[in-house]
Amino acid sequence: MNNKIILEKELNDLDLFTLDFVNILNKLAIKYVIVSGYVAILFGRSRGSEDVDLIIENMDYSKFSEFWTELHTKFECILVDDPKMAYDDYFKSKDRLRFAKIDTFIPNMEIKTPATDIENWVLANSIEVNLNKNKLFISSFELQIAYKLYLGSEKDIEDARYLYKLFEDRLDQNKLSEFINLLEVKNKLERYLL
């Protein structure tokens, strides 16, 4: 599948929230990838979400501090106020940090560094989307579909089916089969997607 997608759409509040956040990451040249539900929502899935999940590259405290300062012009962390504590107790430990727009609680951006091989892979193999001339990076659809099946809630299966049906003609079937086998979800693929 081509690794760049151009999408023009009327932006909703969740799109604008996401773009505000990733524009800061783009500005600071921090590598990231958006995963999970927002990938389906970006392409039209008819549901909202209280959060957007994002995997970002590891960085030292100096870079994290720069990121934190830039972020706090528009966002605030809803878990911890102190950047050193955020770095030591969450970021370095690969725990999730949540950020919302100042004086709000939802939606929020949930960020974490890669903790598994799959998360490293998704970060290294992202798809670039040009959304109304804004750049953002999202997960490979093949991995996203298989991973959603692995998670297995009704909402996850619906997201998987949505992405599968929407991009059916463009998916790399070999790559999809590989992830389906690795995550041991062949039965769910056959039951829910085919």
């Binding site: 999408l7 023009e8 759409k9 009327e10 932006l11 909703n12 509040d13 969740l14 929502i41 392409f43 039209g44 008819s46 549901r47 909202g48 009704e154 299966i157 619906e158 089916r161 949505y162 049906k165 929407l166 829910y192």
Partner: protein
């Protein structure tokens, strides 16, 4: 109004739940068909109404 609780048949409820999920999956197929044949401008306007509600 009655003080009597309804009779709960869990097997029947499970069947209803399963049927509802199957019907939601069918709805997703219909919705994908709609997205594919509809301009981005139109579907995203509808999606915006739902998300910004």
């Amino acid at each position: 109004m009655t003080n009597k609780f309804p009779v709960v048949n869990l097997k029947q409820l499970d069947k209803e739940k399963e049927k509802n999920f199957e019907q939601r999956l069918k709805f997703i197929d219909k919705y994908v068909e709609y997205i594919k044949k509809t301009s981005n401008q139109k579907w995203s306007k509808e999606q915006k109404k739902l998300i910004n509600f």
